[in-house]
Subunit: 336 residues, 4 copies
């Protein structure tokens, strides 16, 4: 249930405000020196400590820090402790277990959540499914869990890079804004207003050989969609012509000069050797100052003053960029 992949499998564990989050990565070949810098960078990107760089086609500046991203994310170092599978920095071929201890655990901040369900969160469904939940910051449902995915996915990216396969995601749209040069100011305004906004992340996989993915069920797009839809806040997945392609006629689509844009690099569930292109849409986070309604566990509705100012992400799609890359890498490595 908490494991993704069969041959290259990642098991995730940990609650947002428990002792630690972490994971077990199984199927990494022996003899690989792990690039710890690359992992740190990816974690910083996920945490909003660095902005996606300009060369990624994402223009918003480092000023963004402290504007659209929660202080907790900025403060935490996300130090990875490697427990097994690595000796002197080199993989052993055995399962790699790692943990990131939760430093900023302030459970008292979440005391009120014991008796309340936040709208747009998984509080109620968890409580009804399990009859118990770790109410502190969403517990297992918190997006903090994605830090473990980023560690594992970055190891996968490193393995793929050795074969010439690169995975690059970028923020493509924020709200209705499609011009990257205006993302920074757009998000800052939303942030000032105590509100939140959705976004679209596009991901391109280059260097993938022909033949990745299986016909029928285990299609490449099926596995990518599965992984992306599992990211917190993701409401949709499309590849190639996607939803906008509904209006295309066959005569236009297949005679098009820009066939790859339309096919998305996949035919019959199998990579066709051209770049694979897909997009995910992320909803605005529910943890914003304007979301005031909630329900007590006894089903009665109440109002409350949700969070200290700024303690929320104005646009979770910004930080999702690193997670999309990580998940894509886990999927592709598992299918190869």
């Amino acid at each position: 249930m908490n494991t993704l992949g069969e041959k290259f499998s990642f098991t995730s564990f940990g609650e947002s405000h428990g002792k630690a989050i972490g994971g077990v990565l199984d199927g990494v070949p022996a003899g690989v020196r792990i690039d710890m810098d690359r992992i740190r960078e990816a974690l910083d990107k996920r945490a909003g400590r660095v902005a996606p760089s300009l060369e990624d086609g994402c223009a918003y500046s480092l000023e963004l820090k402290g504007k659209g991203i929660s202080p907790r994310a900025l403060r935490e170092g996300d130090e990875v402790e490697w427990l097994s599978g690595v000796m002197d920095g080199v993989t052993l071929g055995t399962p790699i277990a790692f943990i990131i201890r939760n430093k900023d655990a302030r459970p008292e901040d979440y005391e009120w959540l014991k008796y309340s369900y936040r709208i747009g969160h998984a509080d109620r469904t968890y409580q009804e499914k399990y009859g118990i939940r770790d109410h502190r910051g969403g517990g297992r449902a918190s997006a903090r869990e994605t830090a473990s995915r980023v560690v594992a996915g970055t190891v996968a990216q490193q393995l793929l890079a050795e074969k010439g396969i690169e995975i690059r995601a970028k923020l493509m749209q924020v709200g209705e804004e499609k011009n990257p040069e205006r993302f920074d100011e757009y998000i800052a305004a939303i942030q000032r207003d105590g509100d939140s906004i959705g976004g679209i992340v596009e991901c391109v996989i280059t260097g993938l050989p022909v033949g990745v993915g299986e016909p029928i069920f285990d299609k490449l797009q099926s596995h990518l969609a599965f992984a992306m839809m599992s990211i917190n806040g993701c409401k949709g997945f499309e590849y190639g012509s996607g939803f906008e392609g509904v209006g295309l006629k066959g005569s236009e689509m297949y005679l098009s000069e820009n066939h790859t844009l339309i096919s998305g690099g996949i035919a019959g569930g199998i990579s066709d050797g051209t770049p694979v292109v897909f997009r995910c849409v992320f909803k605005p986070t529910a943890s914003n100052r304007k979301t005031l309604e909630t329900m007590f566990q006894g089903s009665k509705v109440s109002e409350f003053q949700s969070f200290k100012a700024g303690r929320h992400d104005a646009c979770i799609a910004v930080r999702a960029v690193a997670v999309v890359e990580a998940m894509a890498a886990l999927v592709v490595r598992n299918l190869m």
Copy 2:
């Protein structure tokens, strides 16, 4: 690779123009009388032999037959032979194997495909992945395989219906046309023109209790997306507010009176007790009279007169409605 689901699993086999297509359905409880009429209806809907009914909100008339749907589909009866797992019409709790023999197999129609790759089809990726392929009508990649899915999925639907869970899909958009009353004429025009067009199918699952789906990877939306993206021609999946929701602000989204439309009936990967709503987009089929280009296996490009008139679907989304329902049923039953 050709199996979907763990506890309730469906294994699919068969080439489009081989002896038979079929499947093995494992995990069906013992003692259930299989509703053969329901299966026949679903197969007819998939084959385009009957139009989705008006009560489904799909307005296009039976006139559609012979217009937007290929003659082969209309001619074939899709007779299901039950090989195991059923005694006197009642399930035994053992694996249910069934086959549908291929009647309209005219391999000679496809002789030219031995040496050609059709654009927009999986011909080339199959050939490069396997070094061999059944070229007859796409072989394993043909949408004919979805008939097996419909048989299995309809058994799943029957099991779900016993628990009050109903799955209904409908055609929501054809090209740019969103008014169901104009679908018929729209598709007929495309058909007359020898062209093809995309469409969007919406599916609603009602009666689902709280708690279906697992946090983290095995989210309900992840499994639904996986299954839908595996349907031939599907280019995107979304639930709740989906891609259009990118422009919504958090303050609008969570204060909305129509919360279910936005949440899509899922929170944190787990069904929340309200109807689950998702949509899939289907591209226009590549098998239309206007798609004239192809490539010889030696990579040279050539022109050919593709199909006899009418032997193609003007809008595969029409027939996908039955497949979407079937796949959703397989997913939901497996997760329960």
Copy 3:
């Protein structure tokens, strides 16, 4: 539940007296010409239509036919019909589905079983687990199901043979008799007496490279044991020094000149490049003339005249030889 293996997977279906038994074999590479003769031979060996040959080290003669083996097995041809995955005798890389129709289905012979549980059979556990069962000849629990395994396993053996890996099993012990030259007469005497007897089958895998099997859970011996214990009537599995080695001291074991006999060709769960040797013990079949007691479904004990003379196997271990080889091949191919 009815599937074995992940990368090379075999799904089995069918009841003993239903329409057909069969299977789906997934993961066979494309472009392999299937050796139909080899499959026929293996099926004949399993059915007791031919005795294991002298070169196998099994001395009992063809006279055995009609003595220790049930008439039904002798009469049936076990004709395999290939439904998919094969074109012109060559594999396509797609799932291979095959069936063997049940010819000698005489359900009326089993009418009395509707109301009785046979001792030593799965009649009662099936009835209590499922609340229904196909009572005809054991239904799904019948050893007839192993014919499907033999078809699939022989395809696997063929694939392994291409890499120089050979799997040979032989009857090693019948009752207390360990001299193959006396097996024939021993079994004939048991048969005349209307009784049944146990046996031990030994299997040797040669040509296996170093490295097959995974540390910890997915050890080579774990997978072999899993597969062998799933064969009808198998009560035990051992490799290398096995149970008799309990009395060995470490000083004797590891200084032994015959280290392979003791290690069984596996170290730490991984093949070590020497022949892999394992053994399985099979109990006497419960379907013998001397087993007269049974229980009515209401739990009352009664006597009945069980079977027509000869309609039982005196020593199921004889026919198990082909099944052991098949299962070993499925396991090894899946792990490679």
Copy 4:
């Protein structure tokens, strides 16, 4: 590869002399208070810190401590740190991650192993499979890994006990000695002699309802055999009449008054409601003073003075008792 079970799954990680060993247990229901004392007891039993009690039918006294069991095992406390899935001692329904830090890690003791393969160990197969290995004390192949299995298995045992299912294993035979009252002195003599000896562990599962296990491949005995064969040093598995039953005739077996002893509590792969009885044989450990030969990595044979006196187990079957119980519990819980 390092995961056992699907619905109730256990993932193991950690090298013998790395930072920590540990595991992730997924599928534990929410709201269960974990019995930490029970886990400590089981770990002590596995480590040889307490002898199996007299009521277990195992007569060897506490004097055994320091005789047949390695000092490292006695010294280590095996302190379990719970990282996730548990809040205030109660399970959350989320994955439970735990670690046991390696305290007695003295890698310098194993420096010589960098260049040598020990006979009877997995040193060579690991090296050839992975091209690298953690040579320190066997690394991943060390029996220390079974401590993680005992933690996970004891949680499973607790869950089973709530349903009235008890799993009890005991030492049944040491070398040729079958009288428990003489085990103590027998093992002590072997230990004094610097040698090692094999043993047989018997396990009985009581309270199991009818219906656990699946027909065909996923038989109860298949899963038990798989799990037992994965325990270090296990060379064979049998249930019910086992290997000794080879000489039984059908007429004796099924008329026997002690039917359960013969059936082992399983019919057709499914538990029949009577106690399930199985046995495993363990070889003598290769790490004894008399095992002097090894091979340098360059394949040349050499002699070396293996271990400091006493730093080995005279009979690993003693400590395997706790592991057999743990593995049986993991298997049964997963199948229910």
